[in-house]
């Protein structure tokens, strides 16, 4: 199990498309939401890979696809050499023991009817670990200790804890199976800053102690940069840039990364005043109908007349470990191309940009009304 040289997790050409269904009797597929559309990445053992991007760009879906919580449409997920996508039934269940997940909403991810003890012992029992009743009990206490919760918490229910504590419970549950890989989907974005810092510290501490490998998903670039070794930037289902976190900050190559970076406010007036701002035009286009060519061309301040609109850029390695998918990355880096303002971009692109979330929920009032308790006579 120790093929040290190899990355722990390798994702190749991963695609997840959700069918959009509509129909009279039987639902026909009329299109696809390309939530993840061809992602390659690799995570080395013991390191942290941070994934950032705007809401709806497919980060969560990617994370879930790795765990096979959603079925990938295409591509491979190699975990420690095994293709997760090919596993079935019991084999998959066993494999999941080694990959765990921490969720964004700490309350929602805990069954409100379970007390902490039952929450923490359930995975152990499901996998036949922990060695009997007493073993499980000790293990559960260890776990609580590891995440800094007192044993008094055992008898309590999720709603009785504060947000940070709930997230600790989520983390304790995730590490209960001693996984190799921990996927954290926005683990701190629902928390207050002070609590957020506590959880970030806890994650880092656990990584050191247990030698965990992390895939951390967040939309907060600062958090990602803080805890990641390598950062990947996603836009509309694909990676646009990937680099060691220092390199990415020092020299973002992709126009989107630059814009993102410039948009993150820094709690320091001095920096804020100096900072150049690249404003993007409009919103994220719908993943059901992504733009042609470079996905970003509709909002890109550096968009060129050639190539951008029709040629899909590939992820190129510009510097060691620094990959970027932009036709003009070098020119932009070298300052050969100058950005245009958001207004100009908007003007050239028109307003064809359809926002996400426009899809109306088709509501069957007959069905919905009746799902409520009702009186009939």
């Amino acid at each position: 199990m120790t093929r040290a040289g190899e990355p722990l997790l390798q994702v190749q050409g991963l695609q997840v498309h959700f069918p959009i269904k509509r129909g009279v009797f039987v639902d026909r597929t009329v299109g696809h939401v390309r939530a993840v559309d061809g992602v390659d990445l690799a995570i080395d053992r013991g390191t942290t890979y941070g994934l950032v991007g705007e809401s709806g760009c497919g980060k969560s879906t990617l994370g879930r696809a790795v765990l096979r919580l959603v079925e990938p449409t295409a591509g491979q997920v190699l975990f420690d050499g095994t293709d997760v996508a090919s596993l079935r039934g019991e084999a998959l269940r066993t494999m999941r023991r080694r990959m765990q997940m921490v969720f964004q909403d700490p309350l929602g991810s805990l069954d409100p009817r379970q007390d902490v003890e039952s929450l923490l012992s359930e995975p152990l029992r499901a996998h036949g670990l922990g060695g009997g009743r007493a073993g499980i009990a000790t293990r559960v206490r260890e776990l609580l200790d590891a995440v800094g919760l007192p044993t008094a918490a055992l008898r309590r229910y999720p709603h009785e804890f504060s947000g940070g504590q709930r997230q600790r419970i989520g983390i304790a549950r995730a590490i209960s199976l001693e996984p190799d890989l921990l996927i954290a989907d926005e683990p701190v974005s629902a928390l207050d800053v002070s609590v957020q810092a506590q959880v970030v510290n806890l994650l880092e501490e656990l990584q050191q102690r247990l030698g965990l490998t992390y895939l951390v998903i967040a939309h907060d670039l600062a958090v990602v940069r803080h805890i990641s070794d390598v950062v990947g930037v996603m836009y509309l289902g694909s990676l646009v840039e990937q680099a060691p976190s220092g390199a990415l900050y020092d020299e973002p190559l992709h126009p989107y990364t630059r814009a993102l970076m410039s948009a993150v406010p820094v709690p320091d007036p001095v920096v804020e005043e100096r900072r150049e701002r690249i404003l993007l035009a409009g919103d994220l286009p719908s993943p059901a109908d992504p733009p042609s060519g470079c996905r970003f061309h509709t909002r890109c301040p550096w968009r060129q007349e050639t190539r951008c609109d029709d040629e899909v850029p590939v992820l190129r390695e510009l510097a060691p470990g620094h990959l970027v998918s932009c036709h003009w990355a070098e020119e932009i880096r070298d300052g050969a191309l100058q950005p245009r303002s958001a207004e100009e971009v908007a003007a050239t692109q028109g307003v064809s940009v359809r926002a996400t979330g426009v899809e109306a929920i088709e509501s069957d009032a007959l069905v919905q009304g009746l799902d409520e308790p009702i009186e009939r006579r």
């Binding site: 504060s162 002070s194 810092a197 939309h219 406010p265 820094v266 007036p269 993007l280």
Partner: protein, 361 residues
């Protein structure tokens, strides 16, 4: 702004600050439950063209303060005390009619969640024009033209088409812009923005913040910016009031505050935020516990249980007496008996996080 929009008691004066809040307190008293004091003696003022920030963790009373200013708290089960003056006119206790005349025209508000703050069954256009019709006595047609201009001004492309659309057809950023357009419809003198960007992506947040910034510069509107994001405060506000458990615990100009936070709480907040410009691995030094761990102010300093500087005098022996908000140098006020000390140099601003006495874990 038209004369009719002014209250009959006399024109709002321009020689006083746009908004003066004095000793504002809000108590929620639900039947059968212990009354809770959500806001407790908050005072601040905002001048025209000034941006004032209210920061603090969730539940510290920021929104309640803003709602109390706007007179939007429910009547039942809420006690509001103190004084709120808009251009010299007292708002607390003012009749509903007066408040309605002022709201939207003289003072406006932008809320956190742009989706739920828009009526889902009414087209955007109507929601914008109704303000104009109400406060600026416009006809329907006129209002529609004006509304389109407003939407254009806040950066919504193709405004005439958008006017006919419903909120769910707009993206998050556009919804927030639409809300801002409504707030700006009558060029109010005071704009309160309650976490206007929290629900948005960073790139959109940047767009909105830029918009607000322009607004303050261009029209001299007084802006109260409520947020828990210290980064936003750093980029936007002139003065910052840090709140904790319903009280202001530190007030300072933006530069001062970030350079030399005095309250351990402020320091802790700054030390908790991972910074984009700080390297990987620099440990964060969070405050322990959470906002739930506050003690009542009546027993002393509510922050004491989480504070590393806490000393025995942070708790008072006389029930009801609390740690006061006191002058702490020019332009600064502080509510702390054992503030952080800083080396006199104000230079190394970027490392302010590390000056906070690190503890936690």
């Amino acid at each position: 702004m038209s004369i009719e929009a002014l209250p009959p008691e006399g024109a709002l004066r321009t020689d006083v600050p746009v908004l003066e809040v004095e000793d504002l307190s809000v108590t929620f008293a639900r039947r059968g439950e212990q009354p809770t004091r959500a806001v407790d003696g908050v005072s601040f003022s905002v001048a025209a063209g000034e941006t004032v920030g209210l920061v603090g963790e969730s539940g510290c009373g920021k929104s309640v303060t803003s709602l109390a200013v706007m007179g939007l708290l429910p009547r039942r089960g809420v006690q509001v005390g103190g004084s709120v003056r808009l251009g010299g006119t007292e708002l607390l206790g003012a009749p509903d009619r007066t408040l309605r005349r002022l709201r939207g025209a003289e003072m406006a508000m932008v809320f956190q969640d742009p989706l739920s703050s828009l009526n889902p069954t009414v087209p955007i256009g109507t929601q914008v024009t109704e303000v104009l019709v109400e406060h600026r006595d416009m006809g329907k047609k006129e209002a529609a033209t004006e509304a389109a201009e407003l939407l254009d001004r806040v950066g919504i492309p193709d405004p005439t088409r958008r006017l006919k659309e419903y909120p769910h057809q707009l993206s998050g950023g556009m919804r927030q812009r639409a809300l801002i357009a409504m707030a700006l419809a009558c060029s109010p003198r005071l704009l309160i923005a309650d976490e206007p960007t929290t629900a948005l992506d960073v790139t959109i947040q940047a767009q909105i913040l830029e918009l607000l910034r322009e607004l303050v510069v261009d029209s001299g509107t007084a802006l109260v910016m409520i947020t828990h994001d210290l980064g936003v405060v750093a980029g936007l506000c002139d003065r910052v009031h840090v709140m904790y458990a319903g009280k202001v615990i530190e007030t300072a100009d933006r530069h001062d505050l970030f350079a030399r936070p005095r309250q351990p709480y402020t320091g802790g907040l700054l030390a908790s935020v991972p910074r984009l410009d700080a390297g990987r691995g620099i440990p964060l030094t969070p405050i322990r516990g959470s906002a739930r761990d506050a003690i009542p102010w009546a027993e002393g300093c509510a922050f004491a249980p989480r504070c590393d500087n806490a000393q025995d005098d942070c708790l008072t022996e006389v029930a009801g007496s609390t740690v006061p908000l006191e002058y702490d140098g020019p332009g600064r006020e502080l509510r702390c008996r054992h503030p952080l000390t800083h080396p006199s140099s104000t230079a190394g601003a970027t490392s302010s996080g590390s000056t906070a006495s690190g503890a936690g874990r």
